[in-house]
Symmetry: C2
Subunit: 359 residues, 2 copies
């Protein structure tokens, strides 16, 4: 298969973890006989420093002319805490999601057996956790109108959802549930928010087309409790932009490190693959960041194009790195292996097997 | 001391857990020579059923003429999932908070040594957890303008904050931090939300009056991670209405049951004391609900009026119930003791000691 892949490293550890993802894709290319082309683009603080714009037009064009996008991370302390800034690194990511209409963010969470003792949560509680969050990604309060009064004393953010925005991501989530354990949990705050009530109504309607899927409504407070208390009770979680963001952050904890969870952001025409973790600026350039979330994001990219064996090969190599303890310090508590050594090990172990692994 | 206390049981398990709190206050009255008067008022679904209004005027008047309010819980399945409902049980609670201007919700979270194995989180992670959440309670997205388009396809919720709303709750939180470990964490989403940026600016200004308190800014995603990964790193958490709601739900998990955490909602003129848990309608009338959160809320009421010894006596009795395993099924995994037996045990053990206990 021929694939043009845009590589947007972004800020902090973004570029260095993506470099490992690219290494792994190169190994896949070689071992499975594909043809991948990688082109780098600027985004975030890195783009602001060079062009004044966190999402230069050239980057948008690159993404639109590529088959898929790999994205690293965004944000640096330099641009934080300036309440008067007109534009921020994060806007680059938000605009890109909007521009490419990447309305569904898919975040699979599965406990890695070899890492189970790494979790702050008891083994008995997390064993068997296998859920996926479908987070709406291009609307809600992150994209609603914002305002700050002229004297700077009153601020607003508008959370707005349309039936159409809800229904399209809901269909994605129901389709996934149908192929999985047939359970979908809609997380909201319907006793308080009007948008949540619209979500409930629309999702209930969409549910009628999926009679084999069991729909449960849950308030965000209860979901936040259950996510730690009984994560195995979830199959597919559907949530708006903000609730999905918070719940998936919580999932990082389940599996023992923030450096492990990948995600796919998909729309009708484009698809972007990005680790859930942040830009971790303190670790930048130190060769200590965990590249697994980025590598697994690359695996999701392969899966997106139907390259199931290739996906399995990457996942198998990641599991092997855990078993052999070729891991970064966030997992081992020592600096034994650097970002790049872990990437080397995994890429060298990507072989043509026919396992049926999942992440 | 003479105190007129309004008792608003509300829905589900609300009335039965509050009955135990009242039992304990009666024991305090007797053993410490006070004079407490209790008057019940209607709120929530119970009030809607009887008067059509989740917050009848009589209840508002009762609260305004009382020295303090005990509140149970709100919400029943009967009124859920009706997207066209004009008014909901929960509105009763929201209006009451607004009407009494209870702008600060204080949620102390301290692990109970006797219950530490009950938590889904490892002992080593939660041991020593002692934090308090200051949640803004009368503004933000829960109170902003809502809208639903005439054709029902577009919904909005407005999150709005003013400098004044932020600064008054911030002062409360800083004062608490000053008396505690001197650490305050402001939780927000400042890289995305305008209201969060206003919070950062105002809180940074308020911080100048408390040079002995160390202020940290943290994104809600990171806070949701840290709350499970390293809860001992927090001292005072300050958050807006929604983030504070979600974070305190997460805290329920830390200590092993949702039935344990009390809260105080205070304003300039009024104070209300309420368990953090919900109305748990499935348990209503079954004598299985955990009354501890309600009893500890009564303890916070005593503390609010400077009755420190009385507060300690209630807390000591609660600890004793844990040590003697006189607890409800959510803790023991059996129905050995009912709601009312636990209330009996604790109230009988409220004695005039001079411990220096804290919850
Ligand atoms: C950087 C930020 C805007 C982003 C978000 O909240 O969407 C990130 O936290 C994420 O979860 O992808
Ligand atoms: C019932 C609901 C409106 C309420 C809230 O979210 O404020 C409750 O969850 C709480 O936390 O006190």
């Amino acid at each position: 298969m021929k694939l043009n892949i845009a590589v947007l490293g972004g800020d902090g550890i973004g570029p260095e973890v993506l470099a490992q993802a690219v290494k792994c894709l190169l190994a896949v290319e070689e071992n499975f006989g594909h043809q991948f082309t990688f082109t780098e683009g600027l985004i975030g603080a890195a783009a602001m420093d060079q062009t004044g714009n966190p999402l230069p037009d050239a980057t948008i064009e690159l993404c639109k002319s590529s088959d898929a996008i790999l994205f690293g991370a965004i944000g640096t302390p330099k641009y934080d805490n300036d309440p008067n800034a007109k534009i921020r690194p994060e806007d680059g990511l938000l605009y890109l999601r909007k521009e490419l209409d990447l309305f569904t963010n898919i975040r699979p969470v599965k406990v890695f057996p070899a890492l189970i003792n790494n979790s702050p949560i008891k083994r008995s509680v997390i064993t068997g956790t296998d859920l996926v969050i479908y987070r709406e990604l291009t609307s809600g309060i992150y994209f609603g109108e914002k305002s700050l009064s002229a004297d700077g004393t009153v601020a607003t953010d508008l959370c707005r959802y349309t039936e159409e925005e809800i229904s399209r991501v809901a269909h994605m989530a129901f389709k996934a549930a149908k192929k999985r354990k047939g359970k979908l949990t809609l997380v909201d705050k319907a006793h308080v928010l009007e948008t949540s009530r619209l979500w409930r109504r629309v999702v209930a309607e969409v549910a009628e087309s999926y009679p084999e899927v069991e729909l449960t409504n849950m308030y965000i407070d209860n979901a936040a409790i259950l996510m730690t208390l009984k994560p195995t009770s979830f199959d597919v979680i559907l949530a708006d932009n903000m609730f999905g963001d918070i719940l998936s952050a919580q999932c990082n904890v389940l599996i023992g490190s923030s450096g492990l969870l990948p995600s796919a952001s998909v729309g009708t025409n484009y698809a972007m693959f990005e680790p859930i973790h942040g830009s971790y600026p303190q670790a930048k350039g130190k060769d200590i960041a965990n590249p697994i979330a980025a590598i697994l994001s690359a695996a999701l990219l392969l899966n997106h194009f139907g390259l199931k064996e290739e996906f399995n090969a990457v996942v198998a190599a990641v599991h092997k790195s855990f078993r052999k303890k070729i891991v970064t310090m966030d997992i081992m508590g020592s600096t034994k292996y650097g970002t790049s050594s872990v990437g080397d090990f995994i890429s060298k172990n990507i072989v043509d097997v026919d396992d049926n692994l999942n992440i």
